[in-house]
Symmetry: C2
Subunit: 652 residues, 2 copies
């Protein structure tokens, strides 16, 4: 067979190539397969590689450094680095104050909680976190999500204390869940939030958060606790007698100032710090203005009293009673996953620019620890928000030390300056939120998705529309559901294609993709893709048999006869018992039609199973398994020549 000269392209057959056979004897022991499978599933980044060769003490130190990244960078910390971190830390602190107060208001919490949440968690992240660029703080989307879930169970109006307790408890569960996900290396749950889902969800959330700000911009006192666009618009017109033009005018001024500072940053990237401290400026200027004109009495509501002093302990406020624990777990789980997704994505994309590495599972543990600790010290959910981290990055941070600097700044504010923020007008906070949110509605990204992948666009729009018109949970859930269905459909309906010969029989390609690829007489080459298993085994059977029928009728029209079917398994990454059964059935069906089946290039995992199940020995036969399509076709041609020779002999 290796010496048969076929090839209508006139090329001489490379004898060496044809003699390379599929290695059917490679069988890994079960323990090794299991170990490799578990390692790939849970340790795809193999964090401890290279440890094996070290002495035990160094190994332990290495392990400790793995879990506490601060031990890695702290000993090598220099004054030179600290200069950068100091600048970055002060900059993000100036952003943390308005953002902390704003997002706490968004979550219907006392504004001071927002400042508390920028003190303890960043300290812990600096010790356990692996990203050099992440700045820790509260986030808008998760704040609103938490508020919408908790509000539905325990309206804040009815019992503000219980409302706050459930927030602490939710943060506690968030921390526990995040730590557990990290410890059990289940980072892959976050993988189920696709980029399209996140884009749509973030855009939708930004839209409803902007709508929510109409309350502050118009200086209204009553508002709906629902988040969907219809309730919000109805509520704005229902209480239209509460509109205050003073607030609106001030709001528009602040908005223009913030938008201008953003424009400036786009035009002159060096002046990024102007847009970074602009929100802080708005708070200061707004506060002074409100103080001078006694805004509160003239239609400009202000934040109100802020207590001096650092975070009180809140461990005794965690509530685990039957009645509310479900709400807390639900809120904690959903907001925790969302916060993880944002934090890890932000950390990764910033690390990418500096060409650093982020370990997702380690990040989860860091987030988990900081949320557990936060829940005991009067903080609610924190993560690495995009806006703050980007500022941190642009301000030139070098290590997580910038988080420590921010933390110290916030501590000083809490100890000495907090009461001064009493006069901050609510409309200033609203305009800060609006400007932060506008950037999250990524119209360009939507258009890009529409152009590249209509299904991804659908997933994105379902999240957007679901969030805007229904609730955040519905939008997120529907979008994830659609993503998972799509994932399963990809598996359930994998592509198969017919290969034609190109380059004189050297290369074999999809005939749809390369219309000039030529048919191979009497032979049908099918390329299968994706894992073959119970979900798609039935489909593969139907599809292969249909290819064969189509080919048979086409062959008949040409006065020829289909005699060989070559299944190219190069793209089949795994196969299960149902899949092997399916191949057996296909083989049987084709056998009855007098068609010989050949296999080419099965991968290691597939070869192992096909050999173990006896499929190769009992059905196909070792001699019909080839390494390349070319070899298989050579064998088919040789067989055809022999059978024709026999026919001619018998006719003579």
């Amino acid at each position: 067979m290796g010496t048969a000269a076929g090839g209508d392209g006139g090329h001489l057959l490379c004898a060496a190539a044809a003699e390379h056979k599929v290695n059917l004897t490679a069988q890994r022991p079960f323990a090794e397969v299991l170990r490799a499978g578990l390692a790939e599933t849970f340790f795809p980044d193999d964090p401890f590689r290279g440890f094996g060769s070290l002495p035990p003490a160094e190994r332990a130190w290495g392990g400790l450094k793995y879990f506490v990244p601060a031990l890695e960078w702290a000993p090598r910390y220099t004054l030179g680095k600290f200069k950068y971190d100091l600048l970055a830390g002060v900059t993000i602190a100036s952003l943390a104050i308005p953002q902390g107060i704003s997002y706490a208001k968004l979550a219907n919490l006392p504004p001071i909680i927002g400042l508390y949440s920028s003190f303890v968690p960043p300290l812990l992240y600096a010790v356990f976190g692996s990203s050099n660029n992440l700045a820790v703080g509260t986030v808008a989307a998760a704040s609103l999500l938490l508020a919408s879930i908790v509000e539905a169970e325990v309206p804040r109006e009815d019992n503000p204390e219980l409302y706050l307790q459930i927030f602490y408890t939710a943060a506690f569960f968030t921390g526990v869940i995040q730590t557990a996900l990290g410890v059990f290396r289940l980072g892959l749950i976050v993988d189920f939030l696709s980029r399209s889902t996140i884009t749509g969800f973030m855009g939708g959330t930004a839209a409803i958060i902007i709508l929510q700000q109409l309350k502050g911009m118009l200086g209204m006192k009553h508002f709906t606790s629902k988040t969907d666009i219809i309730s919000v618009v109805r509520s704005i017109f229902l209480y239209r007698d509460e509109w205050r033009w003073q607030s609106a005018v001030l709001g528009v001024c602040f908005l223009l100032f913030l938008l201008l500072s953003k424009q400036l940053r786009k035009k002159k990237p060096n002046l990024f710090w102007v847009s970074a401290i602009a929100p802080f400026m708005v708070v200061i200027i707004g506060g002074i203005f409100a103080f001078l004109v006694k805004g509160n009495e003239h239609g400009i509501p202000i934040v109100g009293d802020l207590k001096k002093g650092i975070n009180p302990l809140s461990i005794s406020q965690l509530t685990f009673t039957d009645k509310h624990v479900n709400t807390a777990v639900k809120a904690g789980f959903l907001s925790g996953i969302l916060a993880l997704a944002e934090g890890i994505a932000v950390g990764r994309s910033l690390a990418l620019i500096k060409n650093e590495q982020i370990d997702g599972n380690k990040e989860m543990i860091a987030f988990g620890i900081m949320n557990i600790a936060g829940s005991c010290t009067s903080c609610y959910l924190t993560t690495g928000p995009f806006s703050k981290s980007a500022v941190n990055f642009h301000a030139g941070c070098r290590t997580p030390m910038s988080n420590v600097v921010m933390s110290v700044c916030i501590m000083l504010v809490l100890l000495f300056l907090a009461p001064l923020f009493k006069y901050t007008p609510l409309v200033a906070l609203s305009s800060i939120i609006v400007v932060a949110m506008i950037g999250l509605i990524k119209v360009k990204e939507f258009l890009h998705l529409y152009r590249v992948d209509k299904f991804d666009f659908c997933i994105c729009m379902v999240a957007f529309v679901g969030v805007v018109f229904f609730t955040m949970v519905i939008g997120l859930g529907a979008s994830i559901g659609l993503s998972v269905i799509r994932a399963l459909l990809h598996v359930a309906r994998p592509t198969t294609c017919k290969l034609g010969s190109m380059a004189g029989g050297e290369i074999f390609c999809d005939v749809r993709h390369y219309p000039h690829a030529r048919n191979i007489p009497n032979v049908l080459v099918l390329q299968l893709g994706s894992p073959i298993y119970f979900v798609n085994a039935g489909y593969f059977r139907e599809r292969i048999l249909r290819w064969v029928e189509d080919e048979e009728s086409a062959s008949k029209a040409d006065g020829q006869d289909l005699q060989y079917v070559i299944l190219d398994l190069g793209g089949v990454s795994s196969i299960d018992n149902t899949g092997i059964g399916m191949l057996g059935e296909v083989h049987k069906s084709l056998d009855r039609k007098g068609i010989t089946v050949a296999l080419t290039n099965p991968r290691l995992e597939v070869t192992e199973k096909l050999v173990l199940s006896g499929f190769i020995r009992d059905k196909v036969g070792k001699e019909w398994v080839f390494l390349t399509v070319k070899d298989a076709i050579t064998a088919c041609r040789y067989g055809l020549q022999r059978s024709r020779g026999k026919q001619e002999d018998s006719e003579v």
Copy 2:
């Protein structure tokens, strides 16, 4: 590039091959992609192909024939075929009587319902069914499943009439669901029942059904309504004063007789009819014996009164009240899916032997119609049970006419002979069930699974243990859940492998699989598999970067430098937006290390998306996309030579 002579194997480069470039211009319009996607998802068998060229009248007739297969075979029916069908029909009727009564007892229903269920549904299946071999009737597993679900809500003891009504209603919903699945071409739901799940579930169900028969074998009157092994064993010992030795002795005799007849069939396949009518013989002999010795008074309980006459209408008994409709829907859905899975699998495996085709979606519609009609005519759930269909097949049936013959036989029995079956001893029915079930515990299949695929074995054992120790629903659910998790894991953790060169640089294979494959200096070739999308994009990124790091340190040890990474996309069947983003990030990371990325052999779907998203134009560059790994390596070598040339020039 096509003329560069590299290749340490000393082979001349085939210029023709290197000049074949990836077709980047093939872009299908969106409408075509959508149409093709929908067609592949819902019409993988393309039932109406070849219709386009026919005149409208023929097309309509063809369509009608598609939906009513009887129109296909009836006009060509001959007396010759009828002889075979008559024999087969009478044989399966002799089996249908004891099985019908037994399985109705298993479902805690009046025995006559079992006979009713063998009259109407087979007639309908003969008209709408597409399998020539399937014999319609009730099935053991679904009967017990129905009983266990309904009994939990409405104990039969409390209200036997309502109990029966819920069975009818469940059959009605089963029919509606099955028809809908067929009409909407959602046959793929059945695909989620893997072969391993079915093997385990059937084995477990057979085991608990055998245990249930201890009631009949011991002539007991009281028994648990639960199905798990612990409740059953406890119940047997709790009521041990009810044990009757007369029943037990008779039962052992029947068992021996039935087992012997089965052995006979194995040894002499021609005498299959002996085992086929053996159950009927047991019923007749048992009945005569019980009548003669007045068994009922001597510890041999009998079936009791059976009313003469064919099925009464039961349409008025369907109950749709809020309270019970949930139970009926749940029971109908679960048993319906199970019945579909059994019916379609049986139809397919028998069709395979005769090399016929079965259309899964058409079968669903046929099953659906017969269950809806059945629910209105005092029948409960029916499908194509394995035992009866196998007998039908071995008796030589030619068309669904054998079902009509069976139906007529049952009608005659109902009209004239039903009261005679009053004396059938329950122990006879129990022994019939035990013998039928023993064959379903496929120990060999379990061992085969253990040998070939440990994970499949786990899925199978979860179903088995779940059914035996908990409930049937728990066993089935846990096993399906595990299967789906496995499917998602396959997608979430696809294989990547490093390719080495073989046959002097002609072939590139996995280095784990072919240990003698050689490294290519300065170049790393990675083969990616499976679709790339949001679920596995993160994993792919981690894994590719790890491969690169490992290769870098290995290269350094050899005093070399990794300069090119070739990603072989031949096995990647599709990619989504997140996946493209991941490739962009990988490209960026490698670019910073000074490593050039090349792509080889992207498939049509993948090429389309990579071009549309601008990834090829803006990131990789058209000149780094190749059709084969060989071409890509040639280009890398050429690049290496040039850069070395430059180095030498500058050194000079």
